[in-house]
Amino acid sequence: MNELGDYQLTVLSFGAIAFGLYLLIKGGDWTIDAAAFIAERAGLSKLFIGATIVAFGTSAPELFTSVNANLTGFPGISLGNVVGSNIANILLILGATAIVFTIRGKPSELMRDVLIMVGATIILVALMIYGVVPRWAGFGMFAILAAFVAYQYWTDAGAGEADEHDEDADAKGIDTMGKGLGFFVAGLTALVAGSEMLVQGAVAAGNAIGVPEAVIGLTVVAVGTSLPELSTCIAAALKRQTNMIIGNIVGSNAFNILSIVGITAMLKPLAVDPASPISTCG
């Protein structure tokens, strides 16, 4: 009876993994098409959309995981999730995307966002050396993010005129702002739900087939919460949206630090254990 239960759990776990992957692929597709349409209609550049709304949406799994972990007394998981995700975003996500499609960027367009990403990283590393991310630092990081988004809005307004028309949005019937926002929200919802199903399914499958939880957490959970970025980048690569690929990763990494660490520390100061592997990885 117990063996049958394990068997059923294994089948259900792999079913959750498969359905989670399906949701991630569809979610990435919808999000990119809707974001491109909204950018075109609103007169905003695709780089702006990629670095703000898409980046925040695809960082949602990390946000929920980190806030929950810190509030329940596991700050190491909270910070490790951000550090691990940022490393995975650059090496794994961009690496996998580059294999599909050569990524090219314009330094003049990237300079501002890249400097914010590097600045946010330096702030986080300094706070990790300090030993705690206090509440005031959380508010400060979120204020920097809000100022950055506002600045991007003012400087990028009107830049979308030069971008090419997105035919995939037409193919999906996205022809009004309402439908665009609907597809965008549905896409982000599918990304978050798919990521959650994949992570939970993988953890359950790991338990069912006897793989230690630490190994599952270090590999599947860290990569799983970055899968929305991967599916969004692969979808953007297939559509040749180069600016959106780099904007997504650079924006996600800045968002991971400024919004996720910021919001997490605002709710409860984030302690850093200098002896933990996360400090080494920082």
């Binding site: 580059a98 050569t102 890249v114 400097l115 630490a214 933990s276």
Partner: protein, 44 residues
Amino acid sequence: MAGVTVAFAAWMLTVSRIGRTAGILMIAAYVGFVAFAYQDLILA
């Protein structure tokens, strides 16, 4: 994380291109990072 971020930033602002070979090397570096973190976790 700081090392990876700064190296990526410097690469994008100078070379501005990530091809297939660089992509494979980046994934290899990530596998190395996971192995390092796993070893660190086990030793801790």
